[in-house]
Structure formats: structure tokens, C-alpha cells
Amino acid sequence: AQKVTQAQTEISVVEKEDVTLDCVYETRDTTYYLFWYKQPPSGELVFLIRRNSFDEQNEISGRYSWNFQKSTSSFNFTITASQVVDSAVYFCALSGALYNFNKFYFGSGTKLNVKP
């Protein structure tokens, strides 16, 4: 079974604090991809990162970083020095191959509130 769990429903931080959003996944596929999307109040989900199951290197992009650990089936997302513009709902997603089509499994999302 494919499943993504984001246990944190809502997180509130004060600007400039660091915050980590947790993502735990389940899959039987040996090849799979993990994603993070950001949904600001405007509603449109925006792609942040894609990581394949063979690449466990952590990635940093500006204030964003991602920690992929296959041993714990986790793909956590850290925002360093958070800003008010980071306030959004963040979704973790898992893509597993199904014939010729990639089906996405989304977590329930974590709402991040960054207060000034």
C-alpha cells in the first residue's frame, strides 16, 4: 500500500525561527519519487522539490532544505529563518509507477503559520 503521513496538522512559529515539517511514507515500490508542494492562500499548489528513491543526498535551496532517509521512510522539509511569506499549507507526495502512469499519493498537509 502507498501512503503518506504528515502528522503535523498545523504549526505556528515566529518569524526567523527554523521549522521542520515531517513526512513519512509507505511504499512497496523499489523505485519511487517524493515531492513537496506549497499551497499559499491563493490556492495553487506550487512544486518545491522532487527526489527519487536512489538519491539520498540532502538538498538545500536557499532557506529550504530536505532530509531524505530511506531507513526511516522519511522526507522532512526544513525552513531556516522563516518568513511571513512562508505561511502556507505544505504537502508531501509520493509517486509510484503504475503501468505508464505516475499516480501521486498526497499527505493531508501541514499548515504553517509564520507570525511577524
Binding site: 515531492f35 504537502f91 505508464n100 501521486f104
Partner: protein, 115 residues
């Protein structure tokens, strides 16, 4: 930039009405999807299409149908709207890609209220 456009941002309908949600993408993507988003449940796949006139059921297709007559347009149809279909509906598209794990591009969503 890829643009996925959903025809309405907010929609209010009556129980039993037939509802059409339209989605258009401008980047020649093969794949198109309809999701519904409900609090605490994340995004759930209703239907997807990998080519014109082709469609496949997702996880929650009951009460919905779709139409893809042109590559750029994917319509979601609620044959007889019910109150439990009140939700945010998100359309997405993607390239087919070599490894079929291409990222999704989303529209801004349609918040549908069925009264």
C-alpha cells in the same frame, strides 16, 4: 511558464444540479488530473487522463465523470450534485515524461458549495 486555468474560483450550486468544472492547460501536457481537497484528507484523485478521449478512474470516482475532447481541456462533471461534493477541486497537468514521475502543475482551484 505552464498555466493551468480553472474556469471558476467559487461556485455555488443546488442539490441535483448538473455541474461542469472546466480546466485548460497551455503547455501541451499529455496528462491531466482532477483532485478534490478536503481538510484533513489532503488531495484525492478523482479521475485522470493520459491522452485525448482517454480517462481512468482515480480513488474516488463515484458521482463524477470526465471529458477530454481536446488535449488542452479536461472537464469534470457532477451529474447530480450532492452536498457531500462540497469541496475544493484542483486540476493539474503534467508531461508524460520518460520515467513517468513528472511534477504536477496545478490550477488555483474551484471551491464548490452544493446547497
Amino acid at each position: 511558464d505552464v498555466k493551468v486555468t480553472q474556469s471558476s474560483r467559487y461556485l455555488v450550486k443546488r442539490t441535483g444540479e448538473k455541474v461542469f468544472l472546466e480546466c485548460v492547460q497551455d503547455m501541451d501536457h499529455e496528462n491531466m488530473f482532477w483532485y478534490r481537497q478536503d481538510p484533513g484528507l489532503g488531495l484525492r484523485l478523482i479521475y485522470f487522463s493520459y491522452d485525448v478521449k482517454m480517462k481512468e478512474k482515480g480513488d474516488i470516482p463515484e458521482g463524477y465523470s470526465v471529458s477530454r475532447e481536446k488535449k488542452e481541456r479536461f472537464s469534470l462533471i457532477l451529474e447530480s450534485a450532492s452536498t457531500n461534493q462540497t469541496s475544493m477541486y484542483l486540476c493539474a497537468s503534467s508531461l508524460r515524461g520518460d520515467y513517468n514521475h513528472e511534477k504536477l502543475f496545478f490550477g488555483s482551484g474551484t471551491q464548490l458549495s452544493v446547497l
